[in-house]
Amino acid sequence: MPRERAAQRALLSLNNVEVIYNDVILVLKGLSLQVHEGEIVALLGSNGAGKSTTLKAISGLLKPENGAVTDGTIVFDNLLIQRRDAPQIVRDGIFQVMEGRRIFEHLSVEENLRAGAYTVREATQVRDRIDLVFSYFPRLFERRHQVAGFLSGGEQQMLAIGRALMANPRVILLDEPSLGLAPLLVREIFDIIKRINEEQGTTILLVEQNASIALSIAHFAYIMENGRIVLDGTPDDLRSNADVREFYLGLTEVGRRKSYRDVKHYRRRKRWLS
């Protein structure tokens, strides 16, 4: 329940974060959320709601896109991190897996992993981490000397997550891991994400369009629209909310999946209770 959850101190918390792009476009309008140690927290919402921006605000990757956190605080493990730059934040223990995989196409699989271990100092540790990644993703092991650009989409996503594991972060920010993947692969990847969370104890903040699968592994979820949180709760809470069912899970009132053939040319007004 939110109340009990709120009582604990969060590992990562965003407090009224405001993000502006190019000095004018307000993307996040006072966004607050908490991620507790060991949790998988899902952040759902429509396109342009600001989910990716939220992740980039945490990981310090806004700057290359001309964005900036103009207000509010981001606290990670008692540390104010909204002014730190991306490399520092990775060293602090937050690693973002960006949307669209963004693997280094011209580097080999293993070189990609080594790049992920940039912040790791000891060479032996790098070796160990590579072995760990290969234990989660045996397919990558088979292709470790291949140029990553020629991997399939699923393998690229695995590589992207593997790169994150290399840095041994406390929090992984995952941006749309299911993007463009076949249903079979989506399942596989989410199973691995869950395993990583359970076995490595890695906290995960997950941005995902596929709400049903995200809710299936998350411990807590937020729903964003227009740059702010409109609803939060445990997956069970959210699954019982009519708006979530209709707009995020595509279910009818009796719980059947709606047919895309019957979509109306108008939208029901959302009632995010506000």
């Binding site: 006072g30 040319h265 506000s274």
Partner: protein, 644 residues
């Protein structure tokens, strides 16, 4: 051929306009990226064709046509066409939920319904089996309707082409029908706003509408070349009065926005000369300006604030009928040049000659703000039963605490209990199918009982207190208006809506308050309070502290017994879909009291928290329940106040 005297009905007026203005623009609709225009001649042709088409479908004199949709040319064409055939139209708010639509159609027994699009068609299909009187649904936006095969669904253009065919056969028939129209014929049936009960249907005649237009035009000299943007629901009497009555009588063009979301932009493009809007629109405009100025850089903000100070001072002097000194005038000119000109341009108000507000009280701060910018904003007073307004400010005699003086032709007085009574050509003839209500609303000698309490000040200006029923007798015996307290609370930018209880059965005054999500949210951000949802924000302790200060400020101006002793911040915004507000967004106090009985009990009991299980209704009628704990905030015992 036809009598060319003063037209007595809207269709007659349309015919006269077509003859007089011909190719001048009558209607414009933003569509396909440009303002598609309809001239007066085309307007008349389309009305004629649609009317004849309706006739072929069986529309009879005295029938009613219901219209449900956004403001579009088809909306007004359908209305005037029905009137041309001696029928009446009834507008239904386009955002009404299914049950409301069913209620009104059932009440008015319309035989034909003109609807905009799939959304409205679906609403009607949901309740179709219960609608006994309705024969046809005529739609004018075909999007998404290709698989709908019900035979009672008819496309608007099909009706028109049917009509055109009939006109070719019987060219004189339409004119004859129009000539039959009389001033006393019912032109429209208007739903009352229904703050206290379910809506009633007021019968408004052509004479009511046209005399209203004449009265208003006598006060303010509208011209055919003026522009008007029709963006408020045509089901609302205020919009009928401006668009249909004044628009037709004067002959100015109506402009329909592209989409509800683009109203602000379209308004700016057109730059209307006349605007009539309820307080909420003006309040929203002000808060938009405030937020944007808040976000502007220091230079802009400073200059704006300076200009606004100058403007406000000038407005105050104008209200006091004092003239400005040379330096004040120079300052005002500078403020206009530097700020107001452009600001009004941004808001689309640059060309406004007359702006009106009516329907509820507008806060003095908002009023002063617009006058400070140089917008000639005037208050009016009236109701559906008086065809919009009957009391209004005059250009040179504006006092923000009043609603002005009676319009030409209207008689306004108060009875011994302080209830406002109105008589005149704009007064309605009764409620449809509801003789009881008619009797209680109309006195024998033709006065309309408004149900509002009010009095006249020394200059003869009317001051409205509240709905007479709501005026409460406090425990010390004084009579007091809850609306007065609510308005005082709402002057705060942090309070969006307030519902005050007290008097009669209640030992002291309490309030249920809706915070303004945007402004309180901003405040929370500035005060390092993290929040997620509306519910979360509304229950933050320091938000309570913030609102507490606002309540204290309000209390300071109130007599002891009227002071708010306890309040709570509601976890959800009041919503018309939950029937907490009327479709014109007025608070339905009685309904709220019963809906939140647990909260009221808690406010008058000895609790510091109340749990409430409330239900929200979705547009399509589905509901969802939620369970929240709400804090009750007691105020300090007021010195001199009576302990409960």
């Amino acid at each position: 051929m036809t009598a060319r005297s003063v037209p007595a009905t809207l269709p007659q007026q349309l015919r006269a306009n077509a003859a007089q203005f011909g190719d001048a623009m009558a209607l414009r609709e933003k569509r396909f990226g440009i303002w598609l225009s309809i001239t007066w001649t085309e307007y008349l042709t389309r009305v004629r064709n649609f009317a004849l088409g309706l006739h072929r479908m069986g529309f009879q004199r005295g029938d009613r046509i219901a219209i449900l949709g956004d403001n579009r040319p088809e909306w007004v064409i359908a209305e005037v066409a029905a009137q041309a055939l001696g029928g009446a139209s009834i507008g239904i708010y386009q955002d009404s939920v299914v049950s409301e639509v069913a209620y009104i159609i059932d009440l008015c027994q319309a035989r034909f319904i003109v609807v905009e699009d799939q959304e409205q068609v679906d609403k009607l299909l949901d309740i179709w089996d219960d609608l006994e009187t309705v024969e046809s649904l005529i739609y004018f936006d075909p999007r998404g309707l290709r698989h709908y095969d019900a035979d009672f669904l008819v496309a608007f253009p099909d009706v028109e082409s049917d009509g055109a065919a009939m006109h070719a056969e019987q060219p004189a028939w339409f004119d004859e029908q129009v000539n039959l129209g009389k001033s006393d014929d019912t032109a429209i049936i208007s739903t009352t706003s229904g703050t206290t009960s379910k809506p009633k249907l007021a019968l408004i005649s052509h004479g009511n509408l046209l005399s209203m237009a004449d009265g208003l035009a006598a006060v303010d000299h509208f011209k055919p070349q003026h522009e008007f943007v029709s963006f408020l629901p045509l089901a609302w009497i205020g919009e009928q009065m401006m668009s249909m009555a004044c628009g037709m009588r004067i002959g100015f063009a109506l402009n329909f926005p592209e989409e509800p979301e683009t109203v602000q932009h379209d308004l700016r493009e057109i730059g209307p000369h006349i605007m009539f809007a309820p307080p909420r629109i003006w309040e929203n405009m002000l808060s938009t300006v405030q937020v944007k100025i808040e976000d502007a850089d220091r230079v802009k903000r400073t200059i704006f604030n300076w200009a606004l100070t100058i403007g406000r001072r000038a407005a105050d002097l104008k209200f006091a009928n004092k003239s400005l000194t040379f330096w004040q005038r120079a300052g005002l000119a500078a403020a206009r040049l530097l700020v107001f000109h452009n600001l009004l341009d941004q808001l689309g108000l640059r060309r406004i000659k007359w702006a009106y507000t009516a329907g509820a009280a507008l806060g003095p701060d908002v009023f002063r703000f617009f006058h400070g910018l140089g917008v000639n904003l005037k208050q009016g007073y009236g109701q559906t039963e008086t065809t919009g307004i009957c009391v209004i400010h005059r250009d040179d005699d504006i006092k923000f605490q009043t609603v002005g003086t009676a319009m030409p032709g209207a008689e306004v007085t108060t009875d011994n209990r302080g209830e406002i009574l109105v008589r005149g050509p704009m007064c309605f003839s009764g409620y449809f199918n509801n003789p009881e209500a008619t009797t209680s609303a109309l006195t024998e000698d033709g006065w309309v009982r408004t149900g509002d309490a009010g009095y006249f000040d020394e200059d003869g200006h009317l001051i409205v207190i509240d709905r007479a029923k709501d005026v409460m007798t406090l425990h010390d015996g004084t009579r007091f208006s809850p609306q007065f307290i609510e308005n005082k609370l709402k002057f705060s930018q942090y309070v969006r809506e307030a519902v005050v209880f007290g008097g009669d059965d209640f030992p002291y005054v309490t309030a249920i308050i809706n915070i303004d999500f945007g402004n309180v949210g901003k405040w929370a951000e500035n005060h390092k309070t993290a929040y997620t949802t509306y519910t979360d924000l509304s229950q933050k302790p320091n938000v309570y502290d913030l609102i507490r200060r606002e309540v204290e400020r309000t209390n300071a101006d109130l007599p002891g017994a009227a002071r708010i002793r306890k309040f709570l911040l509601l976890h959800k915004e009041l919503d018309a879909d939950d029937a907490e507000l009327t479709r014109t967004r007025k608070v339905r106090r009685g309904y709220i009291a019963s809906r939140y009985q647990e909260l009221i009990d808690a406010l008058y009991g000895d609790y510091d928290e109340a749990r409430i299980t409330s239900t929200i209704t979705y547009q399509d009628g589905r509901t969802q329940t939620l369970d929240v704990a709400i804090r009750i905030e007691p105020m300090e015992p007021v010195p001199g106040g009576v302990a409960s």
